[in-house]
């Protein structure tokens, strides 16, 4: 669905008030990856790492400085019009709806802009009205909608013409828990049921954990990770935590291959590497335990570590 080879984007920036110096900023620096049809892919990176620039090259907004891009078999910046019919895009902070008009009017206008056949438009709209619960505010001018309502409107706008591929830039930014949940459920639904390929950039690791099977991480314009989330955890989350509930409060346990991180009454937290069952049997040999559980390192911590130390 997406093929990217050695893709780069340079910007020339002029700085200084009187003596203007030219600086070349390498926003994206020779990245390569492939995305298959039906994937739900997370694209992660700190601010200014090159996430949005990549998405903009994939959607035909920016012309690459070097490298090759192919999206749905098309070169995005050269065959922009054809591509636009086949993809949907939603940029969290950019409004694509008509600000002063009722939400429904925006959908009507987009139907004509995208030349969506009437029956397909009706079916799609009816479905999104139901799934995203648009009915209570579909006649309200967009400027009066809450952020959560507006984002649901924007998602509908991006999907109305039935794209094969959906690009989302920060889809859940600023949303409350309930609204976030609704957006995530919607994305899973269109991905599983309709087979829409979804690529999303986010800072919200909850989005990544709940939605994505695969993760790309970009930093300083280069891809530093491309793979499954579980693999990332395995590789970078070396240390896990074993939580043991003892029969009664005790001194910190001394077990080989683990160190006690925290003690709270009869409960102790042990950091360890390697096999959990081996550690558990060693603990059980040393003392009587009531219960135990293994805590995986959370993705947030891993990503924080990658950003600060690199791979």
């Amino acid at each position: 669905m997406i093929e990217v080879e050695q893709l780069s984007k340079r910007f020339v920036v002029r700085r200084g008030r009187f003596r203007r110096e030219r600086h070349v900023v390498q926003a994206v620096d020779g990245i390569s990856f492939r995305v298959e049809r039906g994937e739900l892919l997370g694209y992660l990176g700190p601010n200014g790492a090159g996430k949005s620039t990549t998405i903009k090259m994939l959607t035909g907004i920016l012309v690459p400085s070097a490298g090759r891009v192919s999206v749905a078999g098309l070169d995005p910046s050269r065959r922009r019009l054809e591509l636009a019919r086949r993809i949907g895009a939603m940029f969290g902070q950019r409004v694509q709806l008509w600000w002063d008009l009722p939400l429904l009017d925006s959908f009507e206008l987009l139907r004509h802009v995208y030349k969506v056949p009437t029956d397909r438009y009706r079916t799609n709209l009816a479905r999104f009205r139901e799934v995203l619960e648009l009915d209570p505010f579909i006649q309200t001018p967009v400027r009066q909608l809450s952020l959560g309502q507006r984002i649901r409107g924007e998602l509908t706008a991006a999907m109305l013409h039935g794209p094969e591929l959906l690009f989302l830039d920060e889809p859940t930014i600023g949303l409350d828990v309930v609204a976030k949940q609704r957006v995530r459920e919607f994305l899973v639904e269109i991905n599983r049921r309709d087979g829409v390929t979804v690529m999303l950039t986010t800072h919200d690791l909850g989005d990544i954990e709940r939605l994505c099977d695969r993760l790309l991480v970009i930093d300083h314009g280069s891809l530093i990770w491309d793979g499954a989330i579980d693999q990332l955890k395995e590789r970078y989350g070396e240390e896990r935590t074993l939580i043991v509930d003892l029969e009664e409060p005790a001194a910190p346990l001394a077990v080989d291959g683990a160190r006690v991180e925290r003690v709270d009454g009869p409960r102790q937290w042990l950091r360890f590497r390697g096999s959990a069952s081996e550690l558990a049997s060693r603990v059980a040999a040393a003392t009587r335990i009531v219960d135990l559980q293994v805590q995986e390192p959370d993705i947030e911590e891993i990503v924080r570590r990658i950003y600060s130390q690199g791979v």
Binding site: F11, G48, S52, T53, K56, T59, G60, I61, L62, V63, S77, R80, L81, E82, A84, R85, I87, A89, F91, Q93, R94, V95, Q96, W98, W99, D100, L101, D105, L109, H112, V113, Y114, K115, P141
Partner: protein, 267 residues
């Protein structure tokens, strides 16, 4: 060919509906715009209060020139006047949205607004036209009617091309609105007077290079049966449609070139 016009009507219709949501502001804008253009024509009358002729031009002849360029400019302004807010779209990156839709970028920008409030200028032009026709003697024949009729759409296309090219500057400077205004609003003021009153360098640059002399000056010369006081070839009297076509082609190419240099905005 028809389908884009229908879509344009829908999009523009939506904009007009939006504008009408702010009725008071809308009415004040229309009144203000009418008053400004009315005062503008007082300047012409004031000049002729002091002199009886401007080179070979009488007040009614100048009024004819003035009225035609006013009306055609007002029509251009109605259709694409909102291009002067285009640099804002470049600066805040909202041009992104235009690029992910399956329509021509220029088409979408043109259809993204409609400056209804500027219609007042066309009304003023109409009034001046009535005044002009009351005082000039034109020996009408088929050719004169044709030249006059062809000059109207040509003028709109020339104005629009200048405007579009000016807007392209924003792709590099991310601003430049005022610079563009010098050619659009400044250009129309110039086209309202006979070109032979201007200094030679100004005439060359704004008359022939930025082809504002073809907006109304040459067609009006022909319709009035006047010889160009500068002695330029008479074929220029008929050149407006060709100049308009050429200007549109140049503007279209510059626009396409500029869009490929769009840099978007952060985030």
């Amino acid at each position: 060919m028809v389908e884009p016009i229908l879509v344009w009507r829908r999009l523009v219709g939506a904009q007009i509906r939006s504008q009408l949501q702010y009725r008071a502001s809308f009415t004040l804008d229309v009144l203000g715009s009418f008053w400004i253009s009315f005062v503008d024509f007082l300047v012409v009358l004031t000049i002729f209060h002091n002199v009886s002729r401007l080179n070979t031009w009488t007040v009614h002849e100048v009024a004819l020139l003035y009225a035609l360029s006013s009306i055609t400019f007002a029509v251009t302004d109605l259709l694409i006047g909102h291009l002067d807010q285009f640099p804002q779209k470049i600066r805040d990156g909202s041009f992104d949205v235009v690029l992910v839709r399956p329509r021509g970028t220029l088409f979408q920008i043109v259809a993204s607004d409609f400056a209804t409030r500027r219609a007042a200028k066309a009304l003023q032009g109409g009034i001046v036209l009535v005044y002009a026709l009351g005082g000039v003697t034109i020996h009408w024949n088929v050719w004169r009617v044709l030249v006059l009729l062809a000059s109207l759409p040509s003028a709109v296309v020339i104005f629009a091309s200048v405007w579009v090219m000016g807007a392209c500057i924003a792709f590099w400077t991310t601003d430049g609105g005022e610079f563009t205004n010098a050619f659009t609003y400044g250009g129309t003021s110039m086209a309202q007077y006979p070109f032979d009153v201007y200094a030679r360098w100004l005439r060359r640059f704004l008359g022939y290079f930025v082809p504002l002399a073809f907006v109304c000056y040459f067609p009006v010369l022909y319709v009035l049966g006047k010889r160009d006081p500068l002695g330029l070839p008479r074929v220029l009297d008929f050149a407006s449609p060709a100049v308009a076509l050429a200007a549109a082609c140049v503007a279209g190419s510059v626009w396409r070139f500029a869009v490929r240099h769009y840099r978007s905005a952060g985030g």
